[in-house]
């Protein structure tokens, strides 16, 4: 029968046993009453996840909680040390004062287990007599197989070239373990001796070389970087050209800046972003059909010839980026006493290939000149618009560095453009109705068949605070009047911006 006392007792005993068993299991897991929590009971792969959400200092403090927590501290994944006084700190870096820097870093790495190290980063002005200290740090990072290693040993450097005296960073150390481990290597202000026999780089995804004294064969090193996706070479010495003859199949981002080189040649079939800053030199990017965006920043040109070349260099000198969708060109030219010439620019030959995918073109142009209305440089753009027949948006940010500038009152158009059937949006900042600006915009208004949004902004928006050097006051009324007249003339609206839009 159901309520037989013996059965009841048995039931109770069984339930009691089950409860005791549960409690034992819970206790084994350290959760005896559901209210205590043991970090070390978390699966191993989760502990570093939680710890990495806390700062290095916080986790160091938790080493006092219990023995197990002390062990966890020795597995903290991101050891990022910043001993520089100024400059922004990385979110994951801990700032340590200079006097205690070496001692603190050494103490931490001494107690670190070497297990689970993800990132090791040092930003510190290490004295030239301390190579043994550097070697110890490198030994620790490589023995622990850090995935990300970053070193900046002269944070006060000028960033335009390597400092005169730099520490040597042994690339071989990254191949000395029993298999490749390094995924990201960010070096600043050190010297390296690359060559093709260095191993350990086959997992490298990201390589940034800033202000590096390169002594040796960089191309040979890159030969072994079969997984490389992101490469930055900035202000390095020891390289006369960047000619990498073999394919870098995985490379998606390439940035070359402030290098004193004669040419650039890469084989990069999957490149998505290309950035270049320097003088006008030949650039060849073989097989580059998937390019999304290219940003080209040219150093100041002084000669007439240089000035004429720079704005159009991308179309004539870098046909290999012709598949690009978004293009930014920054140039600054210096022409003391220009001579107006609308013809000089229209005799340019057709480019090697049309830029059929280009949808968004931005030019940032700074013109140093004494005579704004005689400077015809930007008229070239009328030509270039015919090389980009699918263009939808044209942005031009201009700064004429003049002491006196008057609005041009002429009416003629000297540039004759081909009809453009896709250009919808035009934005010109630093628009002061100088002759070349007026003529270019009129040319566009005349030949653009689907223009929707044409805006001019008299204020200079080029973002490096040169507005204060804009000696000329802005004749806003005159500009608005011109805009109104011109709107009527072409039957297309021109908006005069009230304030610069966010960029």
């Amino acid at each position: 029968m159901k309520n037989h006392p013996e059965q009841q007792q048995q039931q109770q005993r069984m339930e009691g046993e089950a409860a005791a068993k549960r409690s034992r299991l819970d206790h084994q897991r350290g959760l005896s009453d559901g209210s205590s929590f043991h970090m070390e009971d978390l699966p191993e792969e989760i502990q570093p996840l939680v710890l990495s959400l806390l700062s290095l200092k916080e986790v160091a403090r938790t080493s006092l909680v219990s023995r197990n927590w002390r062990k966890l501290w020795t597995r903290y994944p991101n050891l990022c040390f910043d001993g520089s006084k100024d400059g922004p700190t990385d979110m994951d870096s801990v700032k340590i004062e200079r006097a205690k820097f070496v001692e603190t870093v050494n103490s931490i790495i001494q107690h670190h287990s070497g297990i689970g190290l993800n990132k090791f980063s040092v930003r510190f002005s290490l004295g030239m007599d301390s190579s043994d200290i550097l070697n110890r740090w490198i030994c620790f990072a490589t023995a622990s197989k850090a995935k990300i290693i970053a070193m900046n040993l002269s944070p006060k450097g000028n960033y335009l070239e390597p400092s005169k005296q730099v520490h040597y960073f042994p690339l071989e150390a990254l191949g000395a373990q029993d298999g490749p481990f390094i995924q990201c290597l960010f070096l600043t202000n050190v010297s390296i001796k690359p060559h093709s026999d260095i191993c350990g780089f086959t997992k490298l995804k990201s390589l940034h070389l800033h202000c590096i004294q390169i002594i040796g064969d960089l191309s040979g090193l890159l030969l072994n970087c079969s997984s490389l996706e992101d490469l930055e070479v900035i202000a390095c010495s020891g390289v006369t050209d960047l000619n990498i003859p073999h394919q870098l199949n995985k490379l998606r981002h390439l940035l070359i800046s402030n290098m004193r080189i004669q040419m650039v040649e890469f084989h990069v079939p999957n490149l998505s972003h290309f950035g270049y800053k320097g003088s006008v030199i030949p650039v060849v990017l073989h097989g580059c059909s998937k390019l999304q965006k290219a940003t080209l920043t040219y150093h100041r040109t002084w000669s007439e010839e240089g000035n004429n070349k720079v704005l159009g260099h991308v179309f004539h000198g870098i046909p290999s980026v012709s598949a690009v969708k978004v293009l930014h060109v920054h140039a600054n030219t210096y022409t003391d006493q220009p001579l107006w010439s609308s013809q000089a620019h229209s005799s340019i030959t057709r480019p090697a290939s049309m830029f059929l995918n280009l949808r968004h073109l931005t030019y940032e142009i700074i013109i140093f000149t004494k005579l704004a209305n005689r400077h015809s440089g930007i008229l070239q753009l009328a030509q270039y618009l015919s090389f980009v027949p699918q263009l939808e948006t044209l942005e031009m940010h201009m700064l004429y560095h003049v002491s006196v500038g008057r609005c041009w009152r002429g009416d003629g158009i000297s540039c004759h453009m081909r009809r453009h059937d896709h250009l919808k949006t035009v934005y010109m900042s630093g628009f002061r109705c100088y002759r070349a600006q007026v003529e270019l915009l009129c040319g566009i208004l005349e030949m653009g068949t689907v223009l929707e949004d044409v805006t001019i902004e008299p204020v200079v928006t080029i973002p490096w605070g040169l507005e204060s050097m804009n000696f000329v006051s802005i004749p806003r009324d005159e500009i608005c009047e011109w805009a109104h007249r011109t709107s009527q003339r072409f039957g297309k609206a021109i908006t005069v911006a009230k304030r610069p839009p966010p960029r």
Binding site: R29, G34, E45, I46, L51, A60, V65
Partner: protein, 178 residues
Amino acid sequence: MAAAADSSGDGGTSSGEKTIVLVSSDNSARFEVREAAALLSQTVRRMIDEAGADASGDGITLPDVDAKTLAKVLEYCNKHAPASSSSSAAEAAPPAEGEEDLERFDREFVRVDMGTLYSLVTAASYLKIEGLLNLTCQTIADMIKGKTPEQIRKTLGITSEFTPEEEDEVRRENAWAF
């Protein structure tokens, strides 16, 4: 054996959308959920891919997740699932609910006892549900952040076995952090 439990009313089947049956480790509970919700788990996704066309109504057994935890995990998945599912777009599609709503849900969701939190973070790791893993790890991290070692011990119910000498040693080692 507990009776089969249905997932908290999502009415997935009525709209004709594909559902998946997930079974807890001890076989005590079966949950029928929208495919979009189930696919938030990379592990489930992989299991389905491997099972291929053979995936029958028998359901997918998850050997490392018990019934109680699975129920709670599915509560999360149902809330965070995208409005529609397609095998590759499910990751990229935004969830059906608004962001503020989700944040509120998440905050309430992790107001649980330690044992449950432990089970959730373990399950999220095993099932490879990124959002839940991030949420639970962050919750644990927040319990530790800004607390002194003594406070941490109290919050998490830990006893320190350090001898006074050991404590001194640790304090000295990490003097820079204190």
